[in-house]
Symmetry: C2
């Protein structure tokens, strides 16, 4: 019943190779021959595991979407308060955007979803929901500047984060993303927090990220 070890290995190689090619050249410019070559397998092997180029793309995007909930949970669990969760979230997500190939490709494919002729989850709305919740909790904790609407603030943050990440990607291949997030939060936190304390927040975020990295969710999920 279960796939042979060899099969899951090949499938993984194909998926990662496809992610690399998609991340580098986008969906349309990526040819199946490119992916086949990058994966070091043959065309037959690729089409054995994935019926089409589109299927490859949605597999990557779905894998990307599935990885967020556990990460969000881990951050919330290790955060002292909701506002710290929000800030830490942007840095953690940013680092995945830069370092995790499947994420990088998934983001790009979501970006190009109109070109991929297949059903893909709508980007952004999930994040807006999560952040809206967190901002709501921050208000209940007395951390949110009075007069701010959680939903509107969440929308503003999601848009801003995406743009900052994108500009960083275009200009420096996301190498300066952390710095840019610093620059952003230096301004934005003052507008968001009831009692802004940038350096205090920075320290808290560092602690949270360290704790999350030590958490079991960062172990290889292929073990179970």
């Amino acid at each position: 019943m279960a796939m042979q070890q060899r099969a899951v290995l090949t499938r993984g190689r194909v998926l990662i190779a496809a992610a690399e090619v998609f991340a580098r050249t986008g969906f349309l410019a990526a040819s199946m021959n490119d992916i086949v070559e990058a994966a070091g397998v043959t065309k037959g092997a690729v089409y054995f595991h994935f019926p089409s180029k589109e299927a490859l793309a949605v597999a990557i995007v779905e894998e990307q979407f599935a990885q967020w909930p556990p990460m969000v949970a881990a951050i919330i669990e290790h955060s002292p308060d909701a506002l710290t969760s929000v800030v830490a979230l942007t840095y953690e997500v940013g680092s995945r955007f830069r370092d995790d190939i499947l994420t990088t490709a998934g983001v790009r494919l979501s970006f190009e979803r109109e070109l991929v002729n297949a059903a893909m989850p709508t980007p952004f709305v999930g994040w807006v929901g999560i952040l809206q919740e967190l901002f709501g909790q921050a208000r209940r904790e007395g951390q949110l500047r009075s007069g701010l609407v959680p939903a509107a603030t969440a929308r503003a943050l999601v848009g801003s984060f995406f743009g900052i990440q994108h500009v960083s990607e275009m200009l420096t291949n996301r190498n300066d993303l952390e710095t840019r997030l610093d620059e952003f939060w230096r301004v934005f936190l003052i507008g968001v927090a009831a009692e802004p304390d940038w350096s205090g927040t920075q320290r808290a975020v560092r602690r949270v990220r360290a704790a999350v990295r030590r958490s079991p969710l960062h172990m290889d999920p292929d073990l179970d």
Copy 2:
């Protein structure tokens, strides 16, 4: 010596048709046949005016870049202070992103510049320069919150604006862009301004935009 009237007409039709197609489907997915059909001319006509698909794209992008300096100048001229200029700028640029086909296409082509095999101006850096200058002036006018670095603030704003605009485009075809900018500035202005006054700024921005729309730069530039 001069082009025949017929020629400039056809050229214009082709350029606008190309902008429509590029804006809708992107550079790679847009076929020359699509553009030919949308323009209501023949392939020969298109290739008479533009040597390649790439040339079409750079023509659109260059036209887009060229339109900004006069707009920026007009806004600065009609603004009471630098900070108002900055805010008004985001709204004006946003409305062009939504309404001006050549701009819409130019923006999209700039994102996809790696796919277009031709030299195109780097996006964002020009805007960062302009905003950095304006934030510097705002500081001299005592409007900037102390401790803020103009360059960093400019980078944060450019990224944020881009993201907000993009999210609005993906979710509502930019129909709610003004609302989203409102939501953004409600937070961001508090972080930026020395003495934040959102409703006052809103009124000032409305006045500036009205004045700019009445200015001669909004007349048809084909008259001279």
